[in-house]
Amino acid sequence: MLADSSIVTLALPDILVEFDSTVLGISWVLTAFNLVFALALLPAAILARRVPGPTWAIGLVVFALASAACAVAATGGFLIGARCVQAIGGAAVVSGAIELLARTTGTHQAAARLWGTAGLAGLALGPALGGILTEALSWESIFYVQAPLILLIPLALRTPGPAERGAGGKIEPQPEIALALLSAGLTGAIFLLVVMLTEGWRYSPLEAAAVVTAMPIATVIAGTFASRLGTGPPVLAAGAIAIATGLAALGILPGADWWWVIGPQILVGAGIALSLPGLTDRALGGRDPAGRRASGTIAARHVGVVVGIVVLTPVFDSQLQVEYDDVQRSGTALLLDAPLSPGTKIDLGEAIGEEVAAADGALPSLTPAFTSIEPESGQDETYAELKTDLEDEIDAAATHAFSPAFLAAAAIALLALVPIGASARRRA
């Protein structure tokens, strides 16, 4: 369940094609889930406090059935609706699970740590799982594999220990605000990066999954060191700065090849390891009836994801239109001036035009157009050069189209320094 967003992100390009949607439209598959999830978490936490087992079991049934509904969705609207129901089930599962874990481990803080570890595992496995399922089977399969979660219901029948008594005290909102801001920025790192790799650079879902797995691997490796550094403000600030810098570096990529995005992902991954567990720990802090607080902390992260998608997707979408016009113009110039026979150029222009129309506002793939035309004898090399030049032009434009959104994501992540600093002053 914690891997849901990263799994679904890898399937979005295929879903976009299936429902003939836009990036902005299809982003609601993620937005709707995270928004409803965040809204449903607090009521679910209150319910889970009273009846954790049934909350968890009912949540699993709802989540599994809604997952199956997502898999058979015939329209984008139905899919988004099913995702909303899935999110309600997911919120009940998460709230119930935290409460059950807390009663098993003794405290909500220990439960949250376990939950955090599970979250990192989900983050690490999600992209690879999403890529493999989408490429080997279909986008529907990512929802079908979530349905068997229903089989875990018997676990809810185990008798849990007594509920933890909260210590009371004043709630500090700063860690949650920081978590929300970092989550909003991280949306850029996951959602936008996958869209850039698949839609902009034309990577297959599996290739994209392999590339974006660098980030969770970095998180896991950095996590082993980060746990020794503690959760002091300098460590949290270092994490926020690393995330913001990684996102900014994604906004100024010198080229359109996979190796350019590895360094920024390592920074983001290390930043996650330095900041997210520490902020979660501080957010809980044992000061409040922690079940509700734990759900609030998770809700803050999902609100951040929603804010990230809602703010960043239009930024990217409007820039894509600008780049689209520019690349169409420069591509036309390259084709017009290419030293090929006029007949070949006209045929090629028409074939590319068909690909552009088929792409429906997205950046087109040129390979079908170029393979459908046979250049005149002796012009093979010039023909191949033109294809390379045009593809370079499209790749550069596609990469640049994402720049403002990545830089905006970096700015949002950097804002997390404000609540981190405020929290440090308050404690001092």
């Binding site: 690393a242 100024i252 010198p254 113009r329 110039a333 017009l336 007949g343």
Partner: protein
Amino acid sequence: MRVLALTVAVCAAVLGTYLALGGADYKPSAVADPCEPREIDWPDGTELVLEQIGKSALDGAACELQVTREDLLIALADPETRADFLDERQISDSELEAALRGGLERAHDDAVEAGALSGIPEFLIAQVIEHAPLEVIVDIAQSETGQELAAKLAEFAGSETAQDAFGTAQEAIAQGQDVLEEGKETIEELEGLVD
């Protein structure tokens, strides 16, 4: 604090490297100003000459309409894109037609002056430029092959005009064949004398 200082240093190094490698320097490939004269090396072959005339005409029309030739060409791809282009830039159909015709006239004159265009193709193109409505000009410009283009040119010139033009050409060819025959006979006579 050491972690923070180390992170800041690593982050600065990564950003500095990406910036130094041109990460913030992206600019789309510039397209030429259509009002700037281009060096034209007139090619051999009617098809290539016609292509050059088309490109020069596009430059001329684009310059007059104050757009790039690429934008103009994309606009002429189909009626829908043309309507959007005219609407967006507040250009009327007659202004577009005048610009295209003016561009073609200048390109035609340049080709004739450079000796790249003559004979029947020159005549037919001159007729098209002078008389054809905008739709025909665009249709001819979208010909896929030289043969198709020639057929469209002949079709437009009208049967009477075309027949006159082809009749003159046929007469010239017949006269040329007579000359060749006479030359052949002369050569045979000379060969007989040598033997």
